[in-house]
């Protein structure tokens, strides 16, 4: 609770505390922030880079995120050799085939895997956009879509099922209250994954996953 106090009282920008009693989903459209889309080979120095409209959680996007990736992009622009190489790739993992691989194991035993996916979906629904490794991002799509589908149904049974999966109950209540308005017309595909630069410590391929 002390941490919650510290987090919410010290700066007005980070309004989420550890125990979120506020019932609100992260906002949908962002006006100020955007991520520079990593353009690979097609872009010439004369065209301006495409900007992807992205999403902020209630905490505004750390300007260093977009700054970092845009800085490396612009630095790469200046050097015409650089931008011919793919900067964002799949981390040197060559996938020949995927025969019979049904479940992404995420290098964890089943209980930890379930807990990790529950955590990740809770955080995504709380913040709107999170940055994780690519394997985790693509593994959690299914669960985020499941939660949003439960919320679209809206009955008590579905609400209780969602409460059994998502760690914070205020997020569930906010989801059930707002999803009809947001995703009423959209059939499936409620997330978007954007690949980014690998992590410095272990060169793990990273990605942003955000609610569409």
């Amino acid at each position: 609770m002390a941490m919650a106090l510290a987090m919410t009282t010290d700066c007005a920008s980070s309004r989420w505390s550890m125990a979120s009693l506020k019932s609100a989903l992260p906002p949908l459209a962002s006006t100020a922030s955007s991520i520079r889309y990593p353009c690979h080979r097609r872009r010439s120095s004369s065209k301006c880079p495409q900007l992807v409209r992205s999403f902020t959680g209630l905490s505004p996007v750390n300007p260093l995120h977009s700054l970092g990736s845009s800085v490396t992009q612009t630095l790469a622009d200046l050097n015409s050799f650089e931008h011919n190489f793919t900067i964002i790739d799949n981390g040197f993992k060559v996938y020949a085939m995927r025969h019979g691989r049904r479940v992404p194991k995420l290098n964890r035993p089943p209980d930890q895997r379930r807990a990790l996916l529950r955590c990740l979906t809770t955080q995504l629904l709380k913040y709107g956009r999170i940055k994780t490794t690519r394997a985790r991002a693509s593994a959690m799509r299914k669960y985020v879509d499941k939660m949003i589908t439960l919320a679209k149904d809206g009955s008590l049974h579905k609400r209780r099922q969602a409460l059994g999966f998502i760690y914070e109950k205020q997020i569930v209540h906010a989801l059930f209250a707002e999803v009809q308005d947001r995703y009423g017309e959209r059939n499936g595909g409620y997330t978007r994954i954007i690949r980014t630069l690998p992590r410095r410590g272990d060169n793990a391929p990273m990605a942003y996953i955000e609610l569409v």
Binding site: T8, T9, L25, P27, H173, A174, D181
Partner: protein, 175 residues
């Protein structure tokens, strides 16, 4: 006064609408028989009429209070474009009395949460003196600023606040 402001901080009231304050007065708000506690759920139908408000304490001091009721999550808590939506302003409430003893600057409007779960904040300010005719009426209820209103009328920090949640009641019983 041992009432803590922690529920207000965690609920985001302090930060979104009010500044950090130390509660100096206690007051109770009742919608019918139901008492409003921080973060409790109240249906919009139950809150359609004015609440019964009581500033606790002996009616000795001659201080007057101003009550402001706002909704910071309008129209949608994820996109609060009309933050804050003004619901009610009552000035010149004498200490230890009900809100009906005061002068209503802005008429009461019940909660109307269109999308999502909205917070409705009732903030009590202590007035320096009687609010004369110099208090400007805000034109239009949307995009109200409680801080600005308090600064304009020299109200300073609030002395007490409470908030409750409300969401739209489903039209039909969900099966």
């Amino acid at each position: 006064m041992s009432r803590s402001v922690e529920p207000l901080i965690v609920g985001g009231v302090i930060g979104d609408v009010l500044d950090m304050f130390t509660p100096a007065t206690e007051f109770t708000v009742h919608y019918g028989t139901k008492q409003v506690t921080n973060g409790c759920d109240i249906k919009p139908s139950a809150a359609a009429d004015k609440p019964h408000l009581q500033i606790l304490g002996p009616p000795l001091s001659s201080s007057l209070y101003t009550l402001v009721m706002v909704d910071p999550d309008a129209p949608n808590p994820s996109e609060p474009r009309l933050r804050e939506l003004l619901h009610w302003i009552v000035v010149d409430i004498p200490h230890g009395h009900d809100a009906t003893k005061g002068r209503e600057l802005v008429a009461y409007m019940g909660p109307r949460p269109t999308i999502g779960i909205h917070r409705y904040i009732l903030a009590l300010f202590k007035q320096e003196g009687a609010m004369g005719g110099g208090s400007q009426l805000p034109d239009g209820r949307a995009n109200f600023s409680t801080r600005q209103f308090a600064a304009q009328n020299r109200l300073g920090l609030p002395v007490a606040a409470v908030y409750f949640n409300s969401q739209k009641e489903p039209a039909m019983k969900k099966r």
